[in-house]
């Protein structure tokens, strides 16, 4: 695998509700942790990319101002749930192109300032005006998927239980408690068939990574991790019929990432996938090629994706338990992958992890599968 760029350091805040902290302060905590991990001072940073969806104008400059890290190129990236991952892609190419040698990527979000409930969507959107919400988008896909494959609500509950099993092992996770299938099925209905335990929470948090050239990384502190692929795609706009029981966008993005890295799904030690809702994780097993078409339910039944399984998925606890501060998620997935590949993931460590895939997808507007999907492949 040739490297596009190298990750020299990572850091993140604990995810969860932090209503009393400024979003800029949350972002700075993650950035400083990543800089410390990499062993770089502020003067070494050539450029910064900041991913956030609800952070408001100039979130990167607002975050860096108090650190005195101004004057350099700062680019803010908004791409819904893929904001942080899209920011990382820009950093990779800034390094690959030779424009910058050391680049910081921040993903930061403070959702508690929105006041709870489902995420606010674009108010001019036709479906939003008629009452569509993100949980319903996923619930309708889940209903069709269950209709076509025979998967049941119990399978969705098993995904949630697995997420909590991992979340309980992650000190940075928003939820660190274990739950049962019965608790999931009996919990409050959000959008039929999705109960509250099948939906990721809203919360606050930030993650950051330091991206450098391979040469530069060797001279820095932490054990470098290579970025073998960084792919971003958008959903196809369709006014007519589309197959909602599968994710064309995730399939396409993953295929391009596997090609770029020169690997296949069989080579993955672990995957961090965008389980915004339990049903989506089941569908992404198939779209990422972790199992065959229609075999997602069998995969969770076998325990393949859980602790000790053949193909661990979301050892961080995923969006369901680590949490989903929208723009921070894509970078937090990278932080988890780096910890896993360095063998530093503690009680949730995937033994001998060598290759990791991260997958972010989201953004609800009418007619598109999703607004943006990003897939990264990392190798030790």
């Amino acid at each position: 695998m040739t490297a596009l760029a190298t990750i020299a350091g990572v850091g993140m805040t604990k995810f969860g509700k932090q209503p009393d902290r400024a979003i800029e302060d949350i972002g700075r905590e993650a950035l400083l942790a990543a800089m410390k991990d990499a062993g770089v001072e502020r003067a070494a940073i050539d450029e910064v990319f900041c991913g956030s969806s609800y952070g408001g104008p100039l979130i990167g400059q607002r975050t860096l101002r108090d650190l005195g890290m101004t004057g350099i190129a700062i680019t803010n990236v908004e791409n819904a749930c893929s904001s942080g991952a899209a920011a990382l892609r820009e950093a990779c190419w800034a390094v690959k192109a030779g424009r910058a040698d050391v680049v910081a990527v921040i993903g930061v979000e403070k959702l508690t300032r929105l006041g709870g409930g489902t995420l606010p969507l674009e108010p001019t959107d036709v479906e939003v005006n008629l009452g569509n919400v993100m949980p319903a988008v996923y619930a309708m896909r889940a209903r069709r998927y269950m209709h076509e494959t025979g998967a049941t609500a119990r399978h969705l509950a098993m995904i949630a239980v697995k997420a909590h099993e991992y979340g309980a092992r992650n000190p940075n996770a928003q939820f660190q408690n274990r739950i049962t299938v019965e608790q999931v099925l009996g919990s409050r209905m959000v959008a039929d068939p999705l109960t509250i335990y099948m939906c990721c929470p809203t919360g606050d948090g930030a993650a950051a990574v330091i991206v450098t050239s391979e040469n530069r990384a060797r001279s820095l502190g932490a054990k470098p991790v290579r970025i073998a692929a960084s792919v971003l795609q958008s959903g196809l706009y369709k006014t007519g019929f589309r197959d909602m029981a599968s994710s064309e966008l995730t399939e396409r993005t993953a295929r391009l990432a596997y090609e770029a890295a020169g690997i296949g799904p069989q080579d993955l030690s672990l995957a961090e996938v965008h389980d915004a809702f339990a049903s989506a994780e089941l569908m992404y097993y198939e779209a990422l090629g972790l199992c065959g078409k229609g075999e997602g339910a069998a995969m969770i039944e076998r325990g393949d994706s859980g602790p000790g399984g053949r193909q661990p998925v979301n050892p961080s606890g995923g969006l369901a338990c680590r949490g989903h501060p929208v723009g921070a998620t894509g970078v937090a997935q990278i932080v988890e992958a780096v910890w896993q590949l360095r063998g530093e993931a503690g009680p949730r460590q995937v033994p001998g992890a060598r290759v990791a895939l991260t997958h972010c997808t989201g953004g609800g507007i009418s007619g598109l599968d999703h607004g943006a999907c990003a897939v990264h492949v990392l190798a030790s």
Binding site: M140, A191, S366
Partner: protein, 135 residues
């Protein structure tokens, strides 16, 4: 005189005829793709003109559905929603006048008009929605 209700879309792109509601879409004069709401550009073939008005069928097939229990301000929960496929090749999102327990993937539904939410002043917003048809 002020109207007691709002409409979405404000242009009220529909015709009621013989108890049936026909939505107004557009049809591309170049590739034939039908779209709703009406498009001025064709996203399928890229044509920048030649989008003609097209009346849509009043009955379609329920592709999938859900029932929403947590919703933004103005929507009365729970309410059922779904995607409905029309014979013209258009998929519509809308509310359904039913409980989820009474719906089935693949069933026939008819386009109807009714309140979908309240506006900031508390007035009902009228739009297209769906009702189940007997099998």
């Amino acid at each position: 005189m002020t109207d007691s209700a709002d409409y979405f879309p404000a242009s009220q792109p529909w015709t009621e005829r013989g108890g049936a509601v026909h939505l107004h879409g557009s049809k591309c004069g170049h590739c034939g793709t039908v779209a709703f709401p009406p498009h001025g550009l064709c996203p399928a073939c890229g044509a920048q003109s030649g989008q003609a008005a097209a009346e849509l069928s009043p009955v379609g097939t329920l592709y999938t559905f859900s029932e929403i229990h947590i919703a933004p301000k103005g929507f009365a929960t729970p309410y059922a929603v779904g995607y409905v496929d029309l014979p013209e090749g258009v998929r519509l999102f809308g509310q359904i006048e039913a409980r989820a327990a009474d719906l089935e993937v693949g069933q026939q539904v008819a386009v109807t008009l009714g309140p979908v939410r309240s506006d900031a002043a508390g007035r009902p917003v009228i739009s297209y929605k769906f009702r189940g048809l007997p099998a």
